[in-house]
């Protein structure tokens, strides 16, 4: 007999009351099922690794991203040249020798679509890494020291957050000129505030924990406490934040190139290609839609990874 109630409820397995570490367990000084919990935790920890591999969301995302990384790195080895022009074969529809057709200058769309991954996969990850690096430092410092330091830093963060990313990057790029380095630094800098916020709140949650007090009673330096005690325990939110940012970074980079603040032709960059080829949407949709699909697939993939990580970590 199955009396699974059709009621609203939170069907999270943690609903099993035995989990001393579940929500229930926390404010509950009820006698903890000692070994049960420990065993459970051991199971969980192993689970974390295998779970990622088992999570379809995560794996799908991972596979797609890896595909594009591979293409970005090696596609030119087996596709036609993404930049070589064939003036006599412009805007050809998909065919045997041009699977994705050709663009307005007779360039092979397949080759360009594959190679297009490169720029965005340079920009987005590097920008994200920068953002994570800066954001973690800022977040750690302001979250750990609190007080006036925190006040000042967070005020600045608020300011940066008050300027929409696209707008600010346009402002910067238009005046400081284009080029990958600048784009990367710009996006990285503009993504720092949100990251630092996440890190900060994680740190605040962590710094009140007793092992941090214990460290202070050991006479550890603040730097040590931040780097060795706290940081390892907030890596999960940082990783998740990182993947989120990565998604945004890809999007932002593409948008900037589309608006003409990104890379210059003849780069096969997706955003740029879409911007230049959209003129031919009616007569040669393939020149636009393939890069567009590619871009979409990458961002979706990154978001799937975020999703997967989030789910697994939240377990």
């Amino acid at each position: 007999m199955d009396v699974r109630s059709p009621d609203l409820r939170e069907p999270d397995p943690e609903a099993v009351e035995t989990l001393a570490d579940g929500e229930v367990g926390h404010q509950e000084p009820e006698l903890e099922a000692d070994a049960a919990a420990a065993a459970e935790q051991r199971r969980q920890r192993r689970f974390l690794f295998t779970a990622l591999l088992r999570s379809p969301t995560f794996m799908t995302g991972l596979v797609i991203v890896l595909f594009w990384v591979f293409m970005g790195l090696f596609s030119t080895a087996f596709t036609q040249s993404p930049t070589s022009i064939d003036a006599m074969a412009t805007l050809q529809e998909p065919s045997a020798e041009h699977w994705f057709g050709t663009d307005d200058l007779g360039r092979d769309v397949l080759a360009r679509t594959m190679a297009g991954a490169r720029t965005v996969l340079y920009i987005a990850p590097l920008a994200t890494v920068l953002a994570l690096l800066w954001g973690s430092i800022v977040g750690l410092v302001s979250g750990f020291y609190r007080g006036i330091t925190d006040e000042i830093i967070m005020r600045l963060v608020d300011v940066l957050l008050a300027l929409p990313i696209i707008i600010t990057s346009i402002l910067i790029l238009s005046l400081l000129g284009r080029g990958m380095a600048i784009i990367i630094i710009t996006i990285g800098a503009l993504f720092t505030p949100p990251v630092s916020r996440t890190v900060r709140s994680a740190v605040i949650g962590e710094r009140e924990r007793e092992y941090v007090m214990a460290a202070r009673l050991r006479g550890e330096r603040s730097a040590f406490v931040m780097a060795r005690e706290i940081l390892p325990n907030i890596k999960e939110p940082i990783i998740v934040e990182g993947t989120i940012r990565l998604g945004y970074a890809v999007f932002t980079a593409a948008t900037l190139s589309f608006l003409g603040f990104g890379l210059a032709p003849p780069s096969p960059d997706w955003g740029l290609t879409i911007a230049t080829q959209r003129v031919f949407l009616q007569i040669a949709p393939w020149a636009v839609l393939f890069p567009a699909a590619a871009l979409a697939s990458l961002v979706v993939a990154v978001n799937l990874i975020t999703d997967g990580l989030g789910r697994v970590f939240s377990k």
């Binding site: 930049t83 070589s84 022009i85 003036a87 006599m88 412009t90 805007l91 307005d104 200058l105 007779g106 003409g260 210059a264 032709p265 003849p266 230049t276 959209r278 003129v279 031919f280 949407l281 009616q282 007569i283």
Partner: protein, 562 residues
Amino acid sequence: MTTDQYRREYAEHLIEQCKKGHMTRRQLLVRASVFGLSATVAGQMLAACGGSEEETTGGGDSGMPDPVMGGTIKLIGPAPITDPDPVTIYDQGGIVLVYQFLEYLIDLDNSNGLKPKLAESWTPDETGSVWTFNLRQGVTFNDGSPFEAEDVITSIERVLDPANGSGALSQLSGVLSPGGARAVDQYTVEFTLDKPYADFPYMVSSGNYNTAILSRNYTGDIVKNPVGTGPFMLTDYVTKQKATFVKNPSYWGKDAEGRQLPYLDGMEYVMVEDNSAQNLQLQSGAVDVQPQTVFQGAQALFGDPNLRVDIYPGTGIREVAFNMNVEPWKDNKALRQAVAYCLDREAINQALYDGRSNLGYDTFWEPTVFPGSPASTPRAQDYDKAKQLLSDAGYPDGLDITLTHAKYLENPQYAQLIQDQCKPAGINVKLDQLSYEAYYAGDDADYYGTTPWLNAPMTITEWGSRPAPGIFAAAMLLPDAVWSSSHWNNPEWVSLFDQYQSTADEASRTDIAAQLSSIQQDDTPILLAFYITQLRTQKKNVYGIQGPGSFYCDLSQAFMTA
């Protein structure tokens, strides 16, 4: 001898040339028009040459129905970079707008012939250095004031004043100096030139679009007081968005049947930078006419059942200029030639215009485009030669150059083609793509000294149709031409060009042209890979749009059927 004698002689000379085959029938008509010979005279002359009346007068309006009165036509095109002030305009947007409410002494027909507009007739003296224009009478500006010689004088003087930084100056300098224009009477203007100049009428025609006739009491700020004699009146102007015109009720123009022009009640010019956006609006039926259609991206328009694309034998170009004020182009003919030999002009034509345009070989005297020009030596792609020239130039193992261009029309594609075709020779072209505005931007204080299109090392600049090679040459090759992106200064060529302008005799004129052409080609200050065949797109039910394709868009006889 009298002017009439002179004219008669000139007519006979033309007929002779034509018979000898030195001159096509079409060119004969053109030359005749330049010399102010009326259409009837010209007709007799053709007859004298023998042969029938097969005449191509461009314009695709076949089977035109009877005009329909009223209605408003919507044009779409790029916003003018500056206000539509005739003195300073230099871009498509500005020219189209000016043309609607201002007029010129002389207008161009579809085959670059001249046809009377505000001037009913014009005649040179025997030396060709004094030109007398008889103005049309009974024309009034749309502010009610009458159109008289005084207005012409002030308008011409205005462009002659360097302070006004008018592009026309580069055409007129050395031809007409301030004070050169004199009012003989209320309706007669006499231009005393610095030297004999056979093509002078072009200088005061719409072919030199800064010479539009403004009211004598024009004080500047065209948008606030758009006083002109044109068929339409500018009623509303929103920067970068749209300009609205209504018909000029007191317009002097009548059509063949004597009906009052224009037929339309008004017109609107919608400003949209982006070509694809323009095309979409055309297709969605939001607008009626696209005066200049860029082939790239417009392919869909050809198939659109509601649209008609008119094809004109245009003379528009994309000037690829080597700035000879700076390295590496400075005094390095070989290098410039090297680049020229890298180009596969066929391919470029194919890629950019589906092979429709006429090929160019880096000279303005191109017989296929300007009839009667001396034959030019074709320049096919030749990498060996290019490499050779490169090492002669001192760059045996190639070099890096930067090509600055606007993200406008097909320039980006052209730039990438050049880049692609130069690579094999070892010339690495770095593309510096600017926005349209940025490319033409510059400091008000010293525009010509700061704007990228005149100062970047290597540039692509789009030029609309010009009626004659000399006009192009004067605009961009003379040392003192404000629009010279190449800053070329070849004394020999300059003096030859001076002769060329003053020579009236066709034979010697052609000889000089041949020399000019070969010098230009050899020195290669600029690359001219093609002369663009112009496209204009309109709804199927729009008729009667006149004017050589590129910039001019004469709506005075345009109308829409239901």
